[in-house]
Amino acid sequence: MITLFDLKKGDTATVVHIDADTELRDRLFSFGVRSGAVLSVQEVSLTRQTVKAKVGASMIALRGSEARSIRVIAS
């Protein structure tokens, strides 16, 4: 199973499951990141420490470790 972290710039994928504690899950949820949401990766920093993704009409930035907790299927 791949995660958001494994996606390349320009890839689009659908969230399958979020593997995180309540705090991170709530936070992701408030940005619209939940099962079934479609994410597209817009930029990845040089050392892949941060990822910028578009979800719905918002653009969010996450840390690599957080991106790893979002399991996706590429679409």
Binding site: R25, D26, R27, F29, E43, R63
Partner: protein, 704 residues
């Protein structure tokens, strides 16, 4: 007159503060980065003979209790008295905004939904049917644009109308599955005739959400026997249907579906000629360059470097003029009033002291202009994105950048903006190293010493170097503190990247002038007092014997040079016996290993009042009694003559690290949450400053 209290609630970057501006014409600090409005801010207006008081709550994505903003907002909504919730939403991002709206609906208060930034939505080809949305939510929805002020009057009318209407009961409708279980529980409560201050539906939802308070309350009630079985069954149904046993997730899923369904139902998107020019696509294109993995960071560093160059070079032009004006004023005062104690107080104490402060106003205004632009354009969030990978290595957070860079302006707002960090450890760690980011008030000291050390033409580069060095020390300290003091799990890094916006000139002008006024106020009150105190401490106690003995000697002197030499000698002797000289001399042994003489030691002490006073003190200490006619660069040359280069290095380092000023310490205490942290800060900064200066001093002595 009728009076209503309205609380404004909305997610960050929805233009809430801008809307208050449009509604009430009052001034609010607004920015594009999450959480600039940290404290609730108030303003009021009169519309149709009704007084409307707006309370602007911090922007928050959800009513959870993780960050301080969320806690403040949640507490306010639940506990305070008000007449109306004004839920401000970004029309271009309705679905996500409705997640918060759903939580607000559950509060059952009078509410209006404001579809803000309607003009922007139109540009993006988004058309929201406000009437349909009103009917769906049961809440009046009004389209507004804060920038063009369209819909503002209609909104004010609606506000008054709703405030005068009875309290409604909104219904957040869940999916059929959940609604079925809710009605089963309601049936039990109804059949048993259960009475509570909460209505049956709210109780049923609370039970399904496994709300511990409600469980506890109903547990001791006879109804519990029957009720618990029904709730148990209902939950089991939900578990099977949603394929999870986490109720939180089930309801999150429900709210998500509600937001999505509602947003899709009321929005018509027109893809047309505007699509490529929409703010959204412009933002993506700018981001493609500004946060690009290879060029993003160099661009950022270049912008920062440019800002510091501008601060110094452009700021230099009016500085010379201001210095000239104050020197002339001081001379004129002495000429007019004659040489006496009062004229000395005015000219040497007040005018010189305040002049030294005002002189640096141009630098500070330029620096704050830069920071205001970073904030209002939305670039600040990109910087956090670019830097998190780097900062995280030092135990900091990408968001730490905001307070840290604000620290370059002033530590006071920097400590306050550290609230965007919701994890207490991350916040405290950031606050401990904010002092390393040299504030605007330290700039005069650096300008003076960098000018004396490297000459005015290289001072810009030297200044940049000094700031960078402070950052390096800060990061190293952060790492050390993270390893030994602030151990533990990192705060999740999930952050919105707001759309780029052209800064509103009015807003930037307001932010910069506000900083300027604050600086001048500080100069006019605190620093003025400190200047008088320093003047007093350096002129008293009276030393008639010394004066008499020198007066005889000076009268007896044969040449003018001899007279000058003697009067100079007298000034020094008098100063070193003054209160200030005594304080300096008593504590000098502490600072001797750093190369400080008593004058520098005294300046360090007065710097605790405000960093601006350091230069003012040196102005008094180094130039008293010297030729007053020599106006420009007087202090610079006096410092160059009296302070060896290695000591300048040591002094710069000490100033860079030691305790911030009293007002900053006061804010730090409040934000850190206890006096013990001030003690830690004192010990930490003093020890670090002393050690670094000691090393710097000895290295400089070897090299120079």
């Amino acid at each position: 007159m009728r009076s209503y209290k309205i609380v404004m609630v909305g997610q960050p970057n929805v233009g809430k503060s801008m809307l208050v501006n449009a509604l009430s014409n009052s001034r609010f600090k607004i920015g594009n980065f999450s959480g600039v409005t940290v404290d609730k801010a108030q303003s009021s207006t009169i519309h149709n003979a009704t007084n409307l008081c707006f309370m602007d709550l911090p922007g928050t994505y959800a009513l959870t209790n993780y960050s301080q903003e969320e806690r403040i907002t949640n507490e306010f909504i639940n506990e305070y008295e008000y007449d109306l919730i004004l839920n401000v939403v970004d029309s271009t991002n309705l679905e996500r905004n409705l997640l918060l709206t759903a939580q607000l609906l559950e509060k059952n208060r009078n509410m209006i939904l404001v579809l803000n930034m309607d003009d922007e939505a139109e540009k993006e080809g988004i058309n929201i049917d406000a009437n349909l949305l009103s009917r769906t939510l049961g809440v009046p929805c009004v389209k507004v644009s804060s920038t063009t002020k369209e819909g503002v009057t209609q909104l004010l009318d609606t506000i008054i109308h709703i405030c005068e209407s009875p309290k409604p009961t909104y219904k957040l409708v869940y999916s059929n599955t959940v609604e079925q279980e809710i009605s089963k529980i309601i049936a039990v409560l109804k059949n048993k005739g259960f009475k509570d201050n909460l209505d049956h539906r709210t109780l049923a939802i609370a039970l399904l959400k496994e709300n511990p308070d409600v469980f506890k309350r109903l547990h001791s009630h006879p109804i519990w026997l029957e009720l618990s079985q029904v709730v148990q069954k209902s939950l089991e149904h939900l578990y099977i249907h949603y394929n999870t046993k986490i109720v939180r997730d089930i309801f999150a899923e429900e709210v998500g579906a509600f937001a999505k369904g509602t947003a899709t139902g009321v929005t018509k998107t027109v893809h047309g000629k505007h699509a490529t020019a929409s703010p959204q696509s412009i933002t993506s294109r700018i981001d493609a360059l500004l946060i690009q993995k290879i060029v993003g960071l160099p661009i950022f560093l270049f912008l920062m470097w440019g800002l510091f160059q501008l601060t110094f070079r452009l700021g230099q032009i009016p500085m010379d003029g201001i210095e000239y004006v104050f020197a002339t004023l001081a001379n004129y005062t002495k000429d007019t009033l004659g040489d006496n104690q009062f004229s000395s107080l005015l000219a040497d104490g007040i005018i010189t002291g305040v002049g030294a402060v005002i002189m640096f106003l141009p630098n500070i205004l330029i620096l704050f202009l830069g920071i205001a632009l970073l904030e209002t354009t939305g670039y600040m969030a990109r910087v956090a994105f670019l830097l998190d990978g780097f900062f995280n290595r030092f135990g900091l957070h990408g968001k730490s950048f905001i307070p840290l860079v604000t620290g370059f302006g002033c530590s006071v707002p920097a400590y306050m903006s550290a609230r965007t960090l919701k994890n207490d450890r991350d916040r405290l760690l950031t606050m401990f190293i904010i002092g390393f980011m040299s504030c605007g008030a330290k700039l005069p000291i650096y300008v003076l010493f960098a000018g004396a050390l490297f000459g005015v033409e290289h001072a810009g580069n030297a200044l940049f170097g000094i700031y960078i060095l402070g950052v390096v020390f800060g990061l190293v300290s952060a790492k050390i503190l993270k390893i030994f003091v602030f151990k533990g799990k990192d705060e999740p890094f999930v952050m919105e990247m707001p759309k780029y916006r052209l800064p509103s000139l009015k807003l930037v002008w307001h932010m910069v002038t506000l900083k300027g006024i604050m600086y001048i106020k500080k100069a006019g009150t605190f620093i003025l007092l400190a200047s008088i105190l320093v003047w007093f401490a350096s002129n008293y106690p009276n030393q008639p014997k010394l004066e008499a003995s020198y007066n005889t000697q000076i009268e007896a002197a044969q040449t003018v040079e001899e007279q000058d030499r003697l009067s100079q000698e007298y000034e020094e002797a008098r100063l070193s016996n003054s209160y200030l000289g005594t304080l300096g001399k008593v504590t000098t042994p502490l600072f001797a290993p750093l190369g400080f003489d008593w004058k520098l030691t005294v300046s360090i002490f007065t710097g605790l009042a405000a960093k601006e006073v350091v230069v003012a003190t040196m102005g008094v200490l180094y130039t008293l009694g010297s030729d007053v006619d020599e106006s420009n660069d007087k202090l610079l040359s006096a410092v160059s003559e009296n302070v060896p280069p290695a000591v300048m290095v040591s002094f710069i380092l000490f100033v860079m690290i030691y305790l911030p000023c009293m007002s900053a310490i006061a804010v730090f205490t409040k934000e850190a949450g206890g006096y013990k942290y001030v003690f830690y800060l004192f010990v930490f900064t003093s020890v670090a400053a002393w050690l670094v200066s000691f090393v710097g001093y000895n290295l400089a002595r070897l090299l120079i």
